[in-house]
C-alpha cells in the first residue's frame, strides 16, 4: 500500500529560479533562505519518496482566464515548463504517475470534489522551483502528481474547502494499492503582495500564527474568508491555501521537524517547513 512519508511546505518565488541559475545560494541575500534546505536534503534522502503530490497555484502558464478551474489535477505521463515571460530558467521535464493521478482524481470526484483532469499540462515556477530546491541539480528520483488550486480569480476556494480537499487526497493516497512512498508539497506564500499601493506588504505575526496552527490546529485558518486572508497576508499570501491542502493529507495531528522563516526574499516572507504525522 502507498504511504505518506511527510509534507514539505515552501515559498516558490520566481526570483529563486534566477538565484539557482546564477549560483547565488551562498550570497548573503540568499543564504538564509537556501540554508533552510540543508535539513530538507538530508531528510528526503532518509525517507526516500517515490512520488511527489504537489499542491500549487498556477500564475498564468498552465491555466488562464479563458477556462479557469478552481481545482485541477494533472493526469499526464510528463509535464513541461516554460520561461513564463520572466525569462526564468526552464527545468527539465517532469515525469507523471498517471495511475496514482487517476486514482486520486476518481476518489476526489466520488467524494464530491469536482476536479478538472488534465492529460496535458504545463506547470510553472510554483511547482518547478520547489522540486529544484528539494533535489538541486540531480535527476529527481520521483514522479509527480500536480494538484492546482485557483488563487487568481476571487472568490478563491475557502481555507476550509482546501483543508477538506487535502484530507480527501490523503485518504485516496492511503487507499492506493501500490507501494509508493508519497511526499506531499504545499507551495507558495507566506505573506506578500505584489500589486497596488499596498505592494510590499508583509505580516510576520499572521504568518507565524499560521505556521504555529498547522501541526495540531489546521482549522485555525478556516475561520477566515479568502478576502480576510488577503487582508492579513497580502493578495498573493493567499497561496497559503496550498499549505492547508498539503497539511490535510496527514490525518490527525502533525509535528514539525524543521522550520525556516526569513524576510525578505524578493517581496515575500519566505518559509520552509517539514512536517510528519505526530
Amino acid at each position: 500500500m502507498a504511504k505518506i512519508v511527510g509534507t514539505i511546505y515552501t515559498t516558490h518565488v520566481p526570483a529563486i529560479g534566477n538565484a539557482i541559475r546564477n549560483k547565488k545560494q551562498d550570497d548573503p541575500y540568499w543564504k538564509p533562505f537556501f540554508d533552510g534546505f540543508n535539513f530538507v536534503h538530508d531528510w528526503v534522502a532518509q525517507v526516500q519518496p517515490t512520488v511527489a503530490v504537489v499542491f500549487y497555484n498556477d500564475h498564468g502558464l498552465g491555466f488562464w482566464l479563458d477556462a479557469l478551474p478552481t481545482f485541477a489535477i494533472g493526469c499526464a505521463e510528463e509535464y513541461k515548463t516554460k520561461d513564463e515571460g520572466w525569462g526564468i530558467p526552464t527545468f527539465t521535464d517532469f515525469d507523471g504517475d498517471t495511475d496514482l493521478s487517476w486514482h486520486i482524481a476518481d476518489a476526489l470526484k466520488r467524494a464530491d470534489f469536482d476536479v478538472v483532469t488534465c492529460q496535458e499540462m504545463y506547470f510553472d515556477h510554483a511547482l518547478a522551483i520547489p522540486m529544484e530546491l528539494t533535489w538541486p541539480g540531480v535527476q529527481r528520483p520521483i514522479k509527480i502528481v500536480p494538484i492546482e488550486i485557483n488563487t487568481v480569480l476571487f472568490p478563491i476556494p475557502s481555507a476550509a474547502r482546501c483543508l477538506a480537499l487535502g484530507r480527501a487526497v490523503g485518504k485516496a493516497i492511503e487507499s492506493y494499492g501500490k507501494d509508493e512512498r508519497v511526499l506531499v508539497f504545499g507551495t507558495g506564500g507566506l505573506s506578500h503582495q505584489l500589486e497596488g499601493e499596498r505592494a510590499g506588504f508583509i505580516n510576520k505575526k499572521f504568518d507565524l500564527d499560521f505556521v504555529d496552527s498547522l501541526p495540531t490546529n489546521p482549522e485555525w485558518a478556516t475561520q477566515f474568508t479568502g478576502e480576510e486572508i488577503a487582508e492579513s497576508t497580502g493578495t498573493q499570501g493567499v497561496e497559503l491555501i496550498n499549505w492547508l491542502a498539503a497539511r490535510g493529507t496527514i490525518q490527525g495531528d502533525a509535528k514539525t521537524l524543521h522550520m525556516n522563516y526569513h524576510i525578505p526574499i524578493s517581496d515575500t516572507a519566505a518559509c520552509t517547513m517539514v512536517q510528519v504525522a505526530a
Binding site: P14, A15, H59, G60, L61, W64, L65, D66, K82, D83, E84, G85, W86, G87, V152, L153, F154, P155, Q193, L194, E195, G196, E197, R198, A199, G200, I202, N203, K204, K205, T225, E227, E228, A230, E231, T235, Q236, H262, I263, P264, S266, D267, A269
Partner: protein
C-alpha cells in the same frame, strides 16, 4: 475586520481586463514578447485593448493597468519579462518611493 478589497480580482474586473490580461498571457512565449517590443501600439491593438489600457501600457503606469482590470500575475509578465523590471522596481513604482526605500521597508518587516 475591514477587508482591503481594492486589489482583489473579481469577475467584473476580469471582464474589463480581459484584453490586457490576454495580451500579457501571450508573453509566455518569446516570439510574442519580441513582436510587442517591435511595435507596442500594434500589439495592443491586436488584442483589442481599450484606450485607457493602451495608455496605461504606454505610460508604464502599473496602478492604472490594475485599475483597468489588469491582474498582478499577468501584468508581471509584461513588467518583468518584457520591460525588464524586477519586483522591487515594480513595488517602488507603485508605492511612489525609491527602490532602496522599498527594499528597506521589506527588510524592516522582518524585524518586528
Amino acid at each position: 475586520m475591514t477587508v482591503y478589497t481594492e486589489t482583489i480580482f473579481y469577475g467584473p474586473a476580469s471582464t474589463r481586463g480581459y484584453p490586457l490580461n490576454k495580451m500579457c498571457f501571450t508573453f509566455n512565449d518569446k516570439a510574442a514578447r519580441d513582436e510587442f517590443v517591435s511595435d507596442e501600439a500594434a500589439y495592443c491593438k491586436k488584442f483589442g485593448l481599450s484606450e485607457a489600457q493602451t495608455e496605461a501600457v504606454a505610460a508604464r503606469d502599473i496602478l492604472k493597468m490594475l485599475a483597468e482590470g489588469g491582474n498582478a500575475y499577468y501584468l508581471a509578465k509584461l513588467a518583468s519579462g518584457v520591460l525588464g523590471l524586477d519586483m522591487q522596481d515594480i513595488g517602488a513604482l507603485q508605492t511612489g518611493v525609491t527602490k532602496e526605500e522599498f527594499m528597506a521597508k521589506l527588510v524592516a518587516a522582518g524585524k518586528d
